[in-house]
Symmetry: C2
Subunit: 375 residues, 2 copies
């Protein structure tokens, strides 16, 4: 818990430290933490010029509030807007950010702040990783998905016509501010998609968290602050532990991809337009749960419990029936984690336990499409 | 010294290790080392698919030789050509590399090899830093400048219409192979430009190296193997020490920018078309030497000795008379190392000794242009 010495009202703050030696950084979580941005940033960066990258939707809601906080602590922000949506997570958008930063003559001390969801965070992070060979980066995630997942861990990047996140870099932020109050303006569909990743942490790492979500699902969907902050903090803690142990995904970090192998394939096959990322992951997690049970790695009842919770949440759990196995297979084999047509697949062994196996892209694709046909 | 156990003739090999913990890597120097590429790469990367990035000029001379060596050790290279010249060191060229790599479905285990000078090395390195968030990178520099400078230290990047190397990343290679025999096909002008950087190492770090170059300049220009390999090795050693002490240029690494502040400005103001990088740096070093003497940091006779050696080499030492102070000032202030119109300028205090001072871009620009007008 942290309380600032300024006029800011004493508030509940959850703080998680991502331990990466001299590149360690805090994640500060709580309702209204946006108003503390200037003060908290001043603790790690000398006040001066900075750039705020956001999209028009989020800008309208929170840009003024954030800039007011920044200016109150002596920062002088410029604002860069990227059109809203995954299809703008491209090298062209990053190139646009470079152009504006260079025109404005921002130097390598000036931090870049990402205000928005995962798209804004990922592409701003990539710009921060590569502008002048790296400038300080601050994440101010405004979606649940970004707060529990993409803002933690330093993965940045953009999509390519041939696949998601194929271009990118590892670049850790100096500060993450997750204002749970911003979730009040989040469309319910995105809230649900974010909770899918929350459930994922329970499945792969923390049976108690999974049970808590089963218990408190309604409170979470109602954005009850008493549950929300603690759950976001727990997810960040879990991800921070994984990232601290294996920053560059040599091995262990790959457990975070539970549900993502097929999830990414489905997103790609449906042109990133039918499902939100979390929705596609929900289908991928349901598939991975059943696949784990069918290989005897986990009891069918436990797999069912995972799928049941995703259904209660209102997330999709069925592979769409119009997917083509061959095309899906090609997409899976083209994943950047694939090698030689084999994919490192994350299976569950029960709640909070996983195992990796190399599985052929073909087996996953055929099993997924066959499963879809059964419904 | 290393000799391989294969059929390769026993040869003199100079080996320098860049010490960066688990990211340490060897620089292997010697005539004919190109033929050992496959074998040496197999020691650090599992043989398989890989990509060779080069330009048409270098490709015609050395691509087949390199690919033969790679295939001889079980690698399966694809070849990507980028048009020759600094003006192709752009994000567009990197984007083209991404496209080819993705079309060819190269995975994150497949190394990228840069065969060519600094342009090819810098942009291939940036592609390697960002393709699938980072793949193994091998430098096979074929210019003297690349062999003593750009291939060592992990700086990668591309130019932007507003300046050089403004977009980039730090990404260390896994292996550097500097074949001194490739310098036989290097145009004399490029050889001279490369020797400017060799002289720079003497000035900033090693008075004995400087004296040796004074002594052996003719042998170096004649590519006498007895001198050449040892001098390249010494430069790599010096750069490796600096990089090992300060990989990301927090501070000390900036001494390598001796002569580069004005050099970059001149390159920019002459549209990167009038001077080779080393030529512009030669002008910048001459300026920095005189500037150091005028501030009383080093004896005028020592500054003169530096300028005299650059002249003997045949490199330009005078600021061109058509430069405009205001425009040059803007270019200097726009350098990514500048902050608030101030530039961290590297002065010499004698041979092998330097000091930093913050100097206004305006003072540098006015002094440079005034100096040019005197001639």
């Amino acid at each position: 818990m942290a309380a600032l010495s300024s006029g800011v009202e004493m508030s509940m703050r959850e703080v998680v430290t991502v331990a990466l030696g001299e590149r360690s950084y805090p994640i500060v979580i709580g309702a209204g933490v946006l108003d503390e941005c200037g003060e908290r940033l001043a603790a790690v960066c000398r006040p001066g010029r900075c750039a705020l990258v956001t999209n028009p939707v989020v800008a309208r809601l929170y840009a003024e509030q954030l800039k007011e906080s920044l200016m109150g602590s002596g920062f002088d922000p410029i604002q860069i807007e990227i059109a809203d949506g995954e299809r703008y997570k491209t090298l062209d958008s990053v190139s646009h950010i470079y152009d504006v930063l260079l025109e404005a003559k921002l130097d390598r001390k000036a931090p870049l702040l990402a205000l928005g969801g995962g798209v804004i965070g990922d592409l701003t992070g990539f710009a921060a990783a590569t502008y002048l060979r790296g400038v300080p980066f601050v994440q101010v995630p405004t979606t649940l998905l970004a707060q529990v997942d993409s803002s933690v861990g330093g993965k940045t990047g953009v999509n390519h016509p041939l696949g998601k996140n194929l271009i990118g870099a590892f670049h850790q932020p100096v500060l993450v501010l997750s204002d749970s109050a911003t979730l009040r303006t989040l469309p319910r569909r995105e809230l649900v998609a974010g909770l899918v990743e929350v459930i994922k942490y329970g499945v792969i790492l923390d049976a108690a968290l999974f049970a808590r979500i089963e218990e408190d699902l309604d409170a979470l969907l109602a954005l009850d602050e008493r549950v929300l902050g603690a759950v976001i903090r727990r997810c960040c803690e879990l991800k921070a532990e994984v990232v601290g142990a294996d920053e560059r995904e040599a091995d262990y970090r790959a457990i975070l991809n539970f549900g993502h192998t097929l999830g990414h394939g489905i997103e790609s096959e449906t042109q990133y337009s039918r499902y939100l990322h979390g929705e596609a992951v929900s289908i991928g997690m349901s598939f991975a749960a059943h696949f784990s049970a069918s290989r005897g790695y986990c009891p069918p009842a436990v797999a069912d419990r995972v799928v049941r919770l995703l259904r209660r949440l209102g997330a999709p759990t069925e592979v769409p029936t119009d997917l083509q196995a061959r095309s899906l297979q090609a997409a899976l084999a083209g994943d950047k984690k694939a090698a030689g047509g084999q994919v490192k697949f994350v299976f569950m062994e029960g709640l909070g336990r996983t195992r990796f196996e190399m599985v052929s892209a073909r087996e996953i694709a055929e099993r997924a499409v066959a499963g879809a046909a059964e419904h």
